[in-house]
Symmetry: C2
Subunit: 320 residues, 2 copies
């Protein structure tokens, strides 16, 4: 994959990352946004192959995201779940009727022997998405959450236990054998990529898996394109999800500084820019001390305009 | 499984068989009807393990059958199929939203390592069914339809091609390794079974697979309980499905006599009684010539009363 000039590569997990990806997609010409999606929370459930982060990206970038729920498809119905409940089946992972179609489609294609990259690309095309969504790898990677009560598979921790157990760490089973998306690797080998954006996703369970693929973060570090990270922690809290709670449990400061510390210690030299929210402006100097250039913006994305504004800020930053 | 005294064992495929099974269930005390279901049209589709005949029995015996469509669940919705169509997915096998729950439930249970007999029994209990439904075997058996244009997997012939290709025969892949339902085998070893009813199902693709399980039809033949078959062909036509068309293509007379000929040639000595419809009364003598006792009844089951009346006729016949 050679890619269009001035392409942007965005690393993303689910909801928060998808918001910035949508802003970027709104601003960039078709085919210029490449989103590299975490797949370490993929899992098989009820016979189906489910990719929560890819699906959130698919639904968000195609305008099919459920704004009311904050996850899943717009205008969703729950007739299958209701019938499954009537059978005494497992309904802790809520699969909407429309959402189910995606899982059935994907599972059928994978069973036919297509790879996840092909399958994801076809789904994106079918949904009319002009950006490219790449699974981080083809190999099966499964996140285990180390908790006081023992290890939990990610979705059990995240959905069934609603992130309640205290975490002490994470393990990405299979990551040692994983190879980064071949499309993204060849994209990075050319001159197309002008910016690498780490979206405001959970550092531990969304971005770390991508950066843990052997050798991959070094490829990003050594690429000529600047790497910009947007803090997922704003004013000491995560906009959505368990990132702040995890930081506290891991003994990190629950601030944008804590996020920066995590990335700068684990991936030295990776980040060029670290974008924090206006409400965290006082942390700028401290974060800069970690050896990263800090920029301050309004990073909370509620409206479509918010998303575009933050995307514009990010693009302007790397263009400068 | 010992079974209640005066139990009835009914061999059944889908729709036609399920109607008589419902009539029998209405008349018999709870636990006294055992239905042995064809599983040779089971298949995996979109990642799911689908048992069309078992599901038709489950829905029919629990009062959840879709009377309008003649298949599937009552009050069905199609949101998943609609979304799947939007993704360009395979929608030739129509899976309703409620029906999907059954397949998801079953697939999950099988993936946990439960066997099909357990899974089917739990589904029956969950749906409040007082009869017992037994899959014919645990082994995977797959029907191939030999057609002029080549071999077709059963569901492709039956649903996708709508039974249009002319058939020249059938093959039940895996049948040589299949062992009959252990529950039914132990039931037949005791004294509980007082009648064996072959429901008016398709002889070739619903009943033949059951009777082709090595050694099984001989067990039925040698059992003290009389074996009663109700003709699925009435006045030269099948009430539903391709049985009549198949008979014509196979060179059999498309009559109740043709059905009797098929059974008496393939399974000599199996049938004690052959029940034909009033409209076929003139065939009685000819069928009796095959060495089976013929009885004439009103066999078309439209209403619930029709089903009960035919069930009553069948039970009275064996009680006599």
């Amino acid at each position: 994959m050679t890619g269009a000039p001035n392409s942007v590569l965005a690393l993303s997990g689910g909801v928060g990352g998808a918001k910035l990806a949508l802003g970027l997609a709104d601003l960039l010409p078709p085919g210029q946004l490449h989103v590299l999606a975490n797949t370490a929370d993929d899992f098989r459930h009820l016979g189906l192959y489910i990719c929560p982060d890819i699906d959130t990206l698919l639904y968000t970038l195609s305008g099919n995201a459920n704004e009311v729920l904050g996850w899943g498809r717009a205008g969703e119905t729950w007739n299958t779940m209701q019938a499954l409940q009537g059978l005494g089946g497992a309904t802790w992972f809520r699969l909407g009727d429309k959402d189910l179609a995606t899982h059935l489609w994907r599972t059928a294609a994978l069973e036919r022997g297509e790879d996840l990259a092909q399958v994801t690309d076809k789904l994106a095309r079918q949904l009319g998405i002009a950006s490219l969504i790449h699974p981080m790898c083809e190999e099966k990677v499964s996140t285990t959450v180390h908790c006081a009560q023992g290890d939990l598979p990610f979705q059990q921790y995240f959905v069934k236990e609603q992130c309640k157990p205290a975490v002490s760490g994470f393990h990405f089973e299979g990551i040692a054998r994983a190879r980064p998306s071949s499309n993204v690797v060849s994209l990075l080998q050319g001159t197309a990529v002008a910016a690498i954006v780490v979206c405001p996703s959970n550092p531990f369970v969304s971005i770390d898996p991508i950066l843990h693929i052997p050798g991959f973060w070094q490829v990003l570090r050594d690429h000529r394109a600047p790497v910009v990270l947007v803090s997922p922690i704003v004013a000491g809290a995560a906009i959505k999800g368990p990132a702040a709670k995890m930081m506290a449990e891991l003994g990190l400061p629950v601030t944008a500084f804590g996020v920066a510390q995590h990335y700068c210690e684990r991936y030295p030299g990776l980040l060029d820019y670290f974008v924090i929210d206006e409400s965290d402006a006082t942390l700028a100097r401290e974060i800069a001390g970690l050896g990263v250039q800090v920029r301050v913006a309004s990073t909370v994305m509620k409206s479509r305009d918010d998303k575009r504004r933050l995307a514009r800020f990010t693009l302007d930053l790397v263009a400068a």
